[in-house]
């Protein structure tokens, strides 16, 4: 479904990504882990059209989407829930969710909205509330809901676990499993190694702009390098 080949990107003269390749199969959950500053968000921005890559290619369902504008990429079915949630703070929860469906012309938006509210009942309670007044976990739910409203075929989650209380994390990971059961492919970019390996079947380890390791998460979990770099024991 998503094919990234030898992607290079950066800001001004400083190049950050150096020939990164990764792929996400249909209906699969893949994860990308790495220390902050390793280039994770830069990679996502290059995929989603916020940053023009300097080399390499990005393909989705066989179609080359390298360097296309972000609004086009969303309508192709690739949606990113950005790091730090970035909700429209002054707008209500309901309006935030509607914004997720900005590109859609179809009729099923009402049905999708109902599904999101079933997935996150707390959002339904707070739908008329301003998004800025929600707690950290609730904001994360709203951001995830907004992404789902775009009815993507590939959902990219950037640092979902950031600053979440454990119980909230469990709710969100369960939600991800439910979403995955609906057949949606997910690319999980994470710092929390445990959550990442729990959910994803394949994993990529990004270090300083390069894919250092990749493979099934079961293998990665036991890999000494991962343990050394990400736990330092």
């Amino acid at each position: 479904m998503l094919e990234v080949k030898n992607l290079c990107a950066g800001y001004g003269e400083v190049s950050i990504l150096r020939e990164v390749s990764l792929s996400v199969g249909a209906g699969e959950i893949a994860t990308l882990i790495g220390a902050n500053g390793a280039g994770k968000t830069t990679l996502l921005n290059a995929i989603c059209g916020l940053l023009r890559p300097t080399a390499g290619s990005v393909a989705f369902d066989g179609r080359d989407i390298t360097g296309r504008r972000s609004e086009e990429i969303v309508s192709f079915g690739v949606t990113q829930v950005p790091e730090g949630r970035r909700l429209f703070a002054q707008m209500t929860v309901h309006e935030n969710l509607l914004m997720g469906a900005y590109r859609r012309r179809d009729r099923e938006m009402a049905a999708d909205l109902a599904w999101v509210y079933r997935l996150f009942p707390r959002l339904k309670e707070r739908q008329a509330q301003r998004a800025g007044t929600l707690s950290g976990g609730e904001q994360q739910m709203c951001a995830l809901g907004r992404g789902l409203m775009a009815k993507p075929r590939l959902l990219i989650l950037d640092e979902l676990s950031l600053g979440l209380a454990p119980i909230m994390l469990d709710i969100l990971t369960d939600a991800i499993r439910e979403i995955h059961r609906q057949g949606m492919a997910i690319l999980l970019v994470e710092q929390d190694v445990a959550v990442a390996f729990d959910l994803a079947s394949t994993g990529y380890v990004l270090e300083n702009g390069r894919i250092a390791l990749s493979g099934p998460t079961s293998a990665l979990r036991a890999d000494p390098h991962v343990e050394k770099v990400y736990l330092g024991l």
């Binding site: 989603c48 059209g49 916020l50 504008r69 972000s70 609004e71 969303v74 309508s75 949606t79 990113q80 950005p82 970035r86 909700l87 429209f88 703070a89 002054q90 707008m91 309006e95 509607l98 914004m99 997720g100 900005y102 590109r103 907004r146 775009a150």
Partner: protein
């Protein structure tokens, strides 16, 4: 009874101040651009109303929708082909380029239509009526009501429609808007178009109350600044509240202190508010950063 008359005069004028400042506040709120050419666009709006009135015989109030349409297209083009290129440049470059634009517009007008004073004088120019002893000229009331209706329509557009949501989303969280599929370049152009349409309408209304000259723009840009800062920069209701408040304050100062003092007050107020309460009356706290 005089103070009631002064209050009403202030409020009637405050309506135009509000609509004038609303255009600037919208452009500032969404793109963080201070549009120094705002006054020049208002001047163009006045001339547009004047020429549709004199050449085509249209009533200035009825020609408002046309003015709004024409100026929306003008604003959309200015942003799309000129300002979108520098929207992420440092601040004073955006200030400079809009200043350059203002000078170009002002001088084109001076060359095309000369500098002599023009005035939109519909048949009912002199008509007025009494209400509890207060003299209310038809034109001033018409201008106030048009400004009120326009503000209401504008607020509905921003608060209730999908386009309005996209504009608000872009102003609050640019990256998230892009990731939700909002074509940001287009939204910026629409926003500048709306801001220019409001400026054009304000110009048409202003032209019914005061003389029209190519150089009327400069002071109006500064007045819009003062109203926006007073009301709360970048908020929707701020400019309207600020306009009414400033209209009343100026009206009282002109009557009780002296005709030359209102400007001193409005600009002095502008500086004091910026320094001590930059958020203005309605704005959120801590906008000074």
């Amino acid at each position: 009874m005089l103070s009631l008359q002064v209050l009403v005069n202030g409020l009637l004028l405050g309506g135009v101040y509000g609509i004038m400042a609303l255009g600037m506040s919208l452009i500032w709120g969404v793109m963080r651009i201070v549009n120094v050419a705002h006054g020049a666009l208002i001047m163009l709006g006045a001339y547009h109303a004047f020429f549709t009135f004199t050449l085509l015989g249209w009533d200035p109030f009825l020609s408002l929708p046309v003015t709004i349409g024409v100026f929306f297209v003008l604003g959309y083009a200015i942003q799309r082909f000129l300002l979108n290129r520098i929207v992420r440049a440092q601040l004073f470059l955006t200030l400079l380029i809009t200043f350059g634009l203002g000078v170009v517009i002002e001088n084109l007008a001076r060359i095309a239509w000369s500098s002599d004073l023009r005035q939109v004088t519909p048949a009912y120019q002199g008509a007025h009526f009494e209400l509890y002893g207060i003299n209310i000229p038809h034109v001033r009331l018409g201008v106030f009501l048009s400004a009120a209706v326009l503000s209401l329509l504008f607020l509905l557009l921003i608060e209730r429609t999908k386009l309005g949501r996209a504009i608000r989303a872009t102003s609050q969280e640019l990256r998230a808007a892009q990731l939700s599929g909002v074509p940001v370049g287009h939204i910026y152009a629409v926003t500048f178009g709306l801001g220019t349409a409001l400026a054009g309408a304000a110009g048409a209304l202003w032209g019914m109350l005061f003389p029209i000259t190519p150089t009327m723009g400069g002071p109006l840009t500064l007045k819009s600044f003062a109203v926006d800062v007073l009301g709360g920069l970048g908020t929707m209701m701020g400019p309207l509240v600020g306009g009414l408040v400033l209209g009343v304050i100026e009206s009282f100062t002109a009557t009780y202190v002296g005709p030359t003092y209102p400007n001193l007050l409005s600009f002095g107020l502008l500086v004091l508010i910026l320094v001590f309460r930059p958020a203005g009356i309605l704005g959120p706290r801590g906008l000074s950063g």
